[in-house]
Symmetry: C2
Subunit: 341 residues, 2 copies
């Protein structure tokens, strides 16, 4: 996916994901899983994908064979979950070359099939996931109950086994203190919002993940439809606050955001935490047209400068200080490449 | 004076001044001065300068004829003192085209003759002042007592009537908390240090003025010699701390200073106070070779962006907010012109 290609609603929606939890009906579930059974899961999945049309485009990554930084990089690029690493001795992932499909193997469930798209393209992400689902479930059937639907390790996933989500960049809503209202509104729709990359009350980079809570009693189409509708509402709300902020005092807004652009180009030390702040300001500036930079390029740059990804780039384990130096250097270089005056 | 010409020790010494207090012996001193007598002072001085070799190069500015912003600009460029404006109805200034000599008329004394040079050139500044002194005192004698020397309105100036000063940029000494020690050391030499442009404990822009206190009992040469010696000591001290700071952690130093450079280029609003902070960081960075910018150009830019000077530039009275906008705009433009990568 080129960093210069525009995606729908990408001024607010960074990316979206649809993830399906699946388990082979004839193999014991995760809690009782043996090493042999874990191997069997990896064999079945990689064989099925390998024999499919897109087989060549996939790469099998066994977590036990990866360096620590490479594992972290996969998490930082949303290709695997942090939980997959808990089971690193037996877990693996199948990842498509375009990084739009990834299949986690031996996480909480045998398979976690994930479709990933930039911007607001949840239906397309779902298509990708269901298409991989068809391939993976063709030879060996998945545990499925006519009444309950797909059976999963954790009861909260039983039913569709589907978790759909949108990653949202909400600088205007969050700096104007309106995230509380958003949270309340979406919870009534069976959706949840949580900050990404952050622990405290404010999400790092003003990035939030909106996802469905319910997997039981509603069809996949229904869940996706309501997630898309809620996302569109939040997008509209975020845009309205951005416009209002601009209208109220454009120069102050530009001043704040473009200072970050100046700092990001000239800093010699950049912590991972500060990176998120600068990224958010620059992305916001670019989406308002104050800077000419491709948003996808900024998103990719932000992921590439996370600690694990930086370690992979440098080809060796690096300390925090080395990381800050390298991050600042690459950030300046890449921004100058990305931004056109 | 071109902004690209280097001056001695200009990495630390911004400029130096020698100022002579003089009064015509046959006219009443300031406290008893009438309007007619004030006119007479202006006539005598402007006629004397006008008939001298460099006469054409001087401009007579009557304070009563200047807009408020123009008066402030003259103060901001160190061409007149703030005190001259207290007597604006009767005061004036003769200013040389290169702005290296200015003669204040009807300040506290009839004449305050000032020589001004970039960098550490106190002797040269003194030559300029004494040369103008000769011209101005040729026809009408100055009040002079064989025992006491030149007589002045305020007894603290009696004797040589001379105040010599150096304006120093001391970012390393002040941020490392060593200004207290410097102050103590110079006070033993009959010198004094005070912050410029600032009220609090830390001088705005880390600019300090070092000057002599004593005008009585020491010759002009002696005072200048000791001021030069003290300045050279402080210059050495400041450079040592800069080198030490760089040696200890060059990247942190570069990071701090170059962030200001990034901010200064990209800000859309810039207060007069923040300007001084950014100026100091950028000047420090340039003097360390982290940026390639002529120091004189930076100094001139700093003065040109002071509130009064900005008002003169814009050709009309501007409010604080307008000033912040214009300052940010000009700062960005000029810095891009001045700095070569």
């Amino acid at each position: 996916m080129s960093e210069f290609v525009q995606a729908p609603e990408q001024d607010v929606v960074v990316s979206c994901r649809v993830r399906l939890a699946r388990n082979y009906e004839d193999l014991p579930f995760s809690a009782k899983q043996t090493r042999e059974c874990a191997s069997e899961v990896i064999d079945r999945a990689s064989t099925a994908i390998g024999q499919s049309q897109e087989g060549n485009a996939y790469q099998l990554l066994r977590m036990s064979e990866l360096e620590e930084d490479m594992r972290r990089k996969l998490v930082e690029h949303y290709l695997i979950s942090y939980d997959l690493l808990k089971f690193w001795q037996r877990s693996a992932a199948l990842i498509s070359s375009g990084e739009t499909v990834s299949v986690m193997l031996n996480e909480e469930d045998h398979l976690r099939i994930q479709g990933l798209m930039p911007g607001l393209q949840i239906e397309r992400a779902a298509e990708l996931a269901f298409s991989a689902d068809d391939v993976l479930g063709a030879k060996y059937a998945f545990a499925f109950d006519p009444q309950w639907g797909y059976l999963t390790s954790c009861p909260t996933n039983v039913g569709t086994g589907m978790r759909a989500s949108a990653m949202l960049h909400l600088p205007a809503l969050s700096t104007s203190g309106q995230m509380g209202a958003v949270l309340q509104a979406v919870s009534k729709l069976g959706l949840t919002v949580r900050g990404l990359y952050g622990e405290g009350s404010e999400a790092l980079g003003h990035l939030y993940q909106l996802s469905n809570q319910v997997t039981l009693g509603r069809s996949e189409e229904d869940v996706i439809r309501s997630l898309v509708a809620a996302t569109e509402q939040i997008v509209g709300h975020e845009r309205a606050v951005r416009e209002h902020t601009e209208k109220k005092d454009m120069l102050s807004l530009q001043d704040t955001l473009l200072r970050s652009w100046g700092v990001a180009q000239n800093a010699r030390l950049m912590s991972a935490k500060e990176l998120m702040r600068r990224y958010s300001d620059i992305r916001y500036a670019a989406s308002m047209g104050y800077l000419h930079a491709p948003l996808r390029g900024l998103d990719k740059l932000m992921m590439d400068l996370q600690p694990g990804s930086l370690g992979v780039y440098s080809g060796k384990l690096i300390g925090e200080r080395e990381g800050e130096i390298l991050r600042a250097k690459l950030l300046g270089e890449k921004l100058r490449e990305l931004v056109t005056d």
